[in-house]
Symmetry: C2
Subunit: 201 residues, 2 copies
């Protein structure tokens, strides 16, 4: 086969592939606010949500963030986003339950945090709301999963919501439109590398 | 068991867990530039890289981005990040190979794009370089994987690099410090929802 034949064969194969891809794009016509879930034990659940914040802000949307576990306010993401116009940023946690060692206080903190999230889920001016590390509050039973899902379902129709955290409960996965499981294949931490600025915080 | 006993038992269990977590954190002491790979067929590979850009910028680092497949320059991420101080943003692609339908041109485009990436990989002022959708150029054979890995390995010691895209080749996974496989559990696109601003572009 000559080079010209090869190029022509490639062109024809790619033309057929393009027809398949384009037909798929044509079938997808609906526009509405989506519920995304980023779960699994790998890196990237929260950072993928932060990347969507950037996308949304780039299109002139307003966005809101609730961080449910984190108590530190010196993270790169907060320093960066909280000074951008159109961003509401709430750090609502007191650390993981092995930090507080006080279950009653954990539950009270979670419920106060959810009140802040509910307000954002009722605010149609927000095009995207990130509920970072929410899954832990469901897993530990600090919040009722059905009540949380009802609040999410009652949001404005064009508002996107992203929930992050390990061990997303089945009812949340069922309710979601798009679910990604971030699986750890390798992690530098296991090779003795500490959490570093710009990578992990 | 009384409520007070339960609270005490929880406290003791969490105290033990905290000791395990803290010991792990103490063992991880190394600081260096990492090579991250976000692969798999799910949503979040590129957006997780964009989230790290925000983190790095929040710590005052400078960052660089090369987008190897994308040709459109109307994405939210580009609109948002390219106007931030400290960001170098390059859109280097001409679309997937089924769009161009011209293998020779694909290869030339890839090699021109890699020259731009190499310049960033030699620039110690950049704390983080994102090589978005690079895996496709390796998979299609438009770039030589060993040559690309040599350029990445020769970068400044504190520079972090993130490579995104499906089907990361084994040699890239081997070379990486942290690898996450983003697996699709569900995707709204399959239910007929089109790509939307702030979510997909």
């Amino acid at each position: 086969m000559t080079e010209a034949d090869k190029a022509e064969r490639h062109r024809q194969r790619m033309q057929r592939k393009k027809a398949v891809v384009d037909a798929g794009i044509e079938r997808a016509t609906e526009e509405r606010g989506l519920l995304l879930v980023n779960t699994g034990n790998g890196k990237g659940k929260s950072s993928a949500a932060f990347g969507l914040l950037a996308r949304a802000l780039g299109h002139g949307m307003k966005v809101g963030v609730a961080q449910f576990i984190k108590s530190r306010t010196d993270t790169g993401e907060e320093a960066f986003f909280s000074k951008q116009p159109g961003v509401e940023w709430h750090v609502l946690g007191e650390g993981f339950t092995w930090e507080t060692q006080n279950l009653e206080r954990d539950i009270a903190t979670a419920q106060q945090g959810w009140a802040v999230a509910r307000r954002m889920l009722a605010d149609a001016s927000l095009g995207l709301v990130v509920l970072d590390e929410l899954t832990y509050l469901l897993k530990y039973g600090w919040l009722d999963t059905q009540a949380v899902l009802a609040d999410i379902a009652a949001r404005p129709p064009m508002q996107h919501v992203v929930v992050t955290g390990r061990a997303a409960p089945p009812a949340l996965i069922e309710a979601a439109d798009t679910v990604t499981e971030m699986n750890e294949i390798k992690h530098a931490y296991r090779a003795g590398v500490k959490a570093q600025k710009g990578m992990d915080l």
